[in-house]
């Protein structure tokens, strides 16, 4: 039985007919919407490679049924950069070597964007590690990841202060 949903994905409104209501957001993004930036690692919530923002909150898209999201706003890794200008978190991952093979990186970056928006961790390395613990990195680039998140947090806080002034 099919079901229609409307989503805003990276700022664009999409009306989608789901032929199988059991499709996950992850499979919908990758296989139907040509957004393969979001990665499938474990497909069961354990690795974080599939992390996206739904209504601003980080979720594992492999554990989210697309059909439950009618009306939601979804942001994926493809939605972060503005044209050629990278998002500060993307930039910081490059500058701090926050990856090796890069497979976990879209999930790490989306998770970091969510973490910074939550605003609890600041640039405290321990709180960042706790907040990023849902994202595993088989290459163990954790040190660079933590530094990148700290740096991006500082830059984004400074930018926000500048914008407010």
């Amino acid at each position: 039985m099919s079901l229609s949903i409307s989503l805003s994905i990276n700022g664009a409104a999409r009306d989608i007919v789901l032929d199988d209501v059991r499709v996950t957001l992850l499979d919908l993004l990758r296989e139907r919407l040509a957004l393969p930036g979001t990665k499938k690692g474990c497909d069961r919530g354990q690795c974080g490679a599939c992390t996206v923002l739904v209504n601003g909150q980080r979720v594992n898209s492999c554990l989210t049924l697309a059909a439950t999201l009618d009306g939601a706003t979804v942001t994926t890794i493809e939605g972060l950069a503005q044209g050629d200008r990278l998002h500060p978190v993307q930039q910081a991952f490059l500058e701090h070597d926050g990856f090796q093979c890069g497979y976990c990186t879209p999930g790490q970056i989306m998770s970091a964007v969510g973490l910074i928006a939550e605003g609890h961790a600041g640039d405290d390395a321990d709180r960042i590690r706790e907040g990023m613990s849902g994202n595993l990195c088989r290459c163990s680039a954790y040190r660079g990841i933590t530094e990148a998140v700290q740096d991006a947090t500082r830059r984004m806080t400074a930018q926000a202060a500048e914008d407010a002034a």
């Binding site: 039985m1 059991r22 069961r44 919530g45 992390t51 909150q57 059909a67 994202n135």
Partner: protein, 277 residues
């Protein structure tokens, strides 16, 4: 088919026809689906307005049946409920906490569910709506065994009910690594203190018996104890209600040895007394 009711009545009406699976955060349901045939009828509870929210009324905290762990962690709750909030911080990852619910945690009835000892130490009750109306029963009666609850066909957990009160709660989880890990054992304690001595204590242990257990004998001994007494009292605590098993995560012996130490640390944390973390 997936149904997305917006009211409790609509959800209950959908439950009247047998065979439907309730879906809250889906963080237990969905990984389990992978290995078998997905159910034909699923009911998404996340849009049911009556099931959201945390509120205090008439001395009881009411935590709606679709409240997420993140909602709990972020809520302004008294120190008595700190153990529940700490348990929430240790459920999987932030991604899991944003989707997973407290009701889903207890309905899934895993012996390793982190929410259960925290709720047991708070004397939580489960409010259930069904064809016959509302009923409420204590969490320890609701949980019947691993993966078994008292939930009858057609019923939905509408809330967890927690008596408000003084005191402070704590929660400690032992896992093979620091984060994103299933518990080897976990302890939750709630203590009330007067003049440096415990006047009332509740201690629950998870993952060391088919269903988490309160340590009632130890609780009685803790009354009147000072922080200095805690390690010795816990070291000789009667743990005969527990029946730890050996599984992929730890041996029965390791669990048995870890529990007294963990209990002492949890009680001391709840007392805000200095100790080795």
């Amino acid at each position: 088919m997936l149904y997305r009711p917006e009211s409790l009545d609509a959800a209950l009406a959908l439950m009247a026809e047998p065979g439907a699976v309730l879906l809250a955060g889906g963080t237990d349901v969905y990984p389990a689906l992978r290995d078998g045939m997905p159910p034909d009828r699923m009911i998404d509870l996340t849009r049911v307005a009556d099931l959201r929210g945390i509120a205090l009324a008439d001395g009881t905290w009411r935590i709606g049946g679709a409240t997420t762990w993140t909602d709990i962690v972020k809520a302004e709750l008294p120190p008595r409920l700190a153990g529940l909030q700490l348990a929430g911080r240790e459920v999987g990852s932030i991604q899991i906490q944003n989707a997973g619910t407290v009701a889903g945690n207890i309905c899934n009835a895993s012996p390793a569910a982190d929410g259960v000892p925290a709720l047991m130490a708070l004397d939580a009750a489960v409010e259930i709506a069904g064809p016959e109306g509302l009923r409420t029963l204590p969490l320890h009666t609701f949980l019947k065994g691993p993966r078994q609850t008292d939930l009858q066909p057609g019923e939905i957990v509408t809330a967890l009910l927690i008596p408000d009160g003084p005191g402070r709660g704590a929660f400690l989880k032992l896992g093979a690594r620091k984060y994103l890990v299933i518990s080897i054992a976990m302890i939750s304690a709630v203590v009330e203190i007067g003049a440096g001595k415990i006047t009332n204590a509740a201690v629950a242990v998870g993952a060391c018996s088919p269903v988490a257990r309160r340590l009632t004998a130890l609780e009685a001994q803790l009354t009147g104890a000072t922080a200095a007494d805690i390690p010795a009292l816990c070291a000789k605590a009667d743990l005969s209600d527990l029946s730890p098993i050996t599984d992929v995560r730890a041996s029965a012996d390791y669990r048995g040895e870890a529990v007294p130490t963990l209990v002492a640390r949890t009680v001391l944390t709840a007392m805000e007394a200095p100790h080795v973390a």
